[in-house]
Amino acid sequence: MMHLRTIRAFLSAFSLLSPFLLRGTETPQNTKTSCALEAPTLEAKVGYFIFADSKMRKIYKHGGVDVQLSTSYPVHKYLQLYLSAEFLEKHGRSLNSHQKTSIWQVPLSFGLKPVVPMSSCTQWYFTLGPRYVFLHLHNDSSFVDRNINHSRLGGFVNTGFNFFPLRHFLIDIFGEYSYVKMNVHPSKANVIGKNTQVGGYVFGLGLGYVF
């Protein structure tokens, strides 16, 4: 719990202060490393996912790998449209009986992405929007439903920094939070469904192409 509070505090402080911290690194636009800050991008991201719900964290003890494919399209000098498709998978064990369980999620996200240039080759961004999640749950147990498929609409927010070391190349460092509540309906007798927050936190790195 302390670990997560620390992460949240760091993210909040970083989001608030970063525009001012990084402005000092601004370089003249006519340098050899001048970057195209208003061009579409296509990016592949990989991150480390942690559930926001404490019960889910107990069941799926370790972090999972989250992979994303995202694209940004500028509609204004300081505003972009953001689209991404994601996949994450985690394995765990049920509480008290320790039976194997696995969860797969495919979130599809759409959002608005304001960008703030920090220098000629650095920008800070912030994205907010809805997210639709497809979920598959597999339980290695004869006492509950073995397979459950469900989908639900939620939301997400992410923030990070893009670095443009080369003309058509970008490096992205990001953090993300999602909120999606799933309410499944088991078919087996004496099995009860719960309304559970299946979103969480992702921290990762992306590499992209600037068109």
Binding site: D53, K55, M56, I59, Y60, G92, S94, L95, N96, S97, Q99, T101, I103, L137, N139, S141, F143, V144, D145, I148, H150, M182, V184, P186, K188, A189, N190, V191, I192, G193, K194, T196, V198
Partner: protein, 439 residues
């Protein structure tokens, strides 16, 4: 040479000393089937006191005990049933009544040497094979004729069954590994009916008592060779029905009871060893059973209004050898049969599970969960073969001796459930249960 002689002498002395001093080291239960529709139970460790009188079916004409002493099978002639009695003292009683299918008037019963099958002979000449693990009839078979079966004997190797018919016949069946029977053949043509039978411990001979039924004596003791299936020379005995035959556990003597006298023959040459006098004259000296150690024989002696069980000292080195040393009774109305079983080695009450605890928990998968009741117990006994778990009186699990927890899944919230856990011995007997209720 000197050393060998010394060792031989030492062995002989030890054996003599043992036999002289030997009294039954183990307790036995003596079961007596009586015309009062009861099976009386005598405890040899309590000076042959009657410790139980178990209600069975109508006219219990014969009974047999499994080798481990845990089950007694009683044929109830008039209602065509077989009562199965639990031989464990702490749970003694009828645990099942089996209706013997196509065979009415069961009159004879024998148990296979491994205790897995009970064979019931019926009034129509048919034989039912009962699986003792499930107490269900797995086969019904008729031999050569539809004639009452008076006695059944299984050879010690468990491969043959001999049926004594109420006609001038014996017949034998071969026993398969699954306990089922295949008719072999008929034996002999003695007149007119075969009453009782017993087999030698080596399985070589079956002795049968044949009644001349109203004809002038003598009555016969036939000897069947189980290898040739032919009758060896007959033995003439004195007057009356040979109502009981038993072969001593060492195979050396056959004891025959008939009205008015009790005779002991040597199996080596069929010569008469001795007659045994009874304390009271008259009556019908009925069925005989030996204790497994061979030191005593119990005889069901039925007289009008004075039925007794007599105990004969059959220890050859005893000063009271082949005399009646105890006379138990009177009790009952008329004795049909007698059998002796060892005391089952059941777990003692102290080996019952201890510290039984339980609680309801969630088997939580995050998006869904189910409720289960978790039980936990301890056991201090090392002789436990396993544990049985019961839910509201019904058996739900049989666990190994190293398992001390159990999870009962898919429970309903708010429903109180009562669980019992028993320790089980290697013979299948169960301890007093430990019980808990989980809300």
């Amino acid at each position: 040479m000197r050393k060998n002689n010394f060792l031989h002498a030492l062995r002989s002395f030890t054996l003599v000393l043992f036999l002289l001093l030997a009294r039954p080291c183990f307790g036995y239960f003596v079961y007596v089937a009586d015309f009062s529709n009861k099976v009386f139970v005598l405890d040899t460790t309590q000076n042959n006191a009657i410790v139980a009188a178990i209600d069975v079916g109508i006219e219990p004409t014969s009974l047999a005990v499994t080798p481990d002493g845990t089950r007694i099978y009683v044929t109830n002639n008039s209602d065509s049933t077989v009562s199965v009695i639990d031989g464990n003292p702490s749970s003694r009683g009828v645990i099942k009544v089996i209706t013997v299918g196509i065979g009415p008037n069961p009159n004879a019963v024998a148990i296979s040497p491994d205790g897995k099958f009970a064979y019931v002979g019926n009034g129509d000449g048919s034989i039912n094979v009962i699986d003792t693990s499930t107490n269900t009839v797995k086969q019904s078979i008729t031999g050569s004729s539809a004639v009452n079966i008076n006695a059944l004997t299984v050879t010690p190797d468990g491969k043959e069954l001999y049926a004594a018919l109420n006609a001038n016949l014996f017949e034998y069946f071969t026993i398969a590994s699954d306990g089922t029977l295949t008719f072999g053949n008929t034996i002999g043509d003695r007149t007119p009916q075969v009453i009782t039978s017993a087999v030698t411990p080596n399985g070589q001979f079956v002795f049968s008592g044949t009644d001349s039924f109203g004809l002038p004596p003598p009555t016969f003791l036939d000897v069947i060779n189980t290898t040739t299936h032919l009758i060896n020379p007959e033995i003439a005995i004195l007057q009356g029905l040979p109502s009981g035959i038993a072969v001593s556990p060492n195979g050396e003597f056959v004891y025959v009871s008939s009205a008015g006298e009790f005779s002991v023959f040597k199996t080596s040459d069929y010569s008469l060893l001795t007659h045994i006098d009874y304390p009271s004259a008259g009556g019908i000296n009925g069925p005989i059973a030996f204790t497994p150690d061979g030191l005593s024989a119990y005889v069901a002696n039925s007289q009008v209004q004075s039925n007794h069980v007599d105990v004969i000292d059959t220890n050859p080195l005893s000063p009271t050898y082949n005399t009646v040393v105890a006379d138990i009774g009177p009790f009952g109305l008329f004795f049909f049969d007698i059998a002796i079983g060892i005391v089952p080695s059941s777990p003692s009450p102290s080996s019952s599970p201890t510290n039984l605890t339980g609680a309801q928990k969630k088997n939580d998968f995050g998006l869904l969960f189910e409720l289960f009741n978790q039980l936990q117990w301890e056991s201090s006994s090392t002789s436990v073969a396993g544990f049985n778990v019961y839910r509201n009186g019904a058996l739900i699990a049989s666990l190994g001796p190293s398992t001390f927890t159990y999870q009962d899944h898919n429970r309903k919230r708010g429903v109180t459930t009562t669980y019992s856990v028993t320790a089980v011995s290697s013979s299948g007997s169960e301890s007093v249960p430990a019980t808990i209720s989980i809300p």
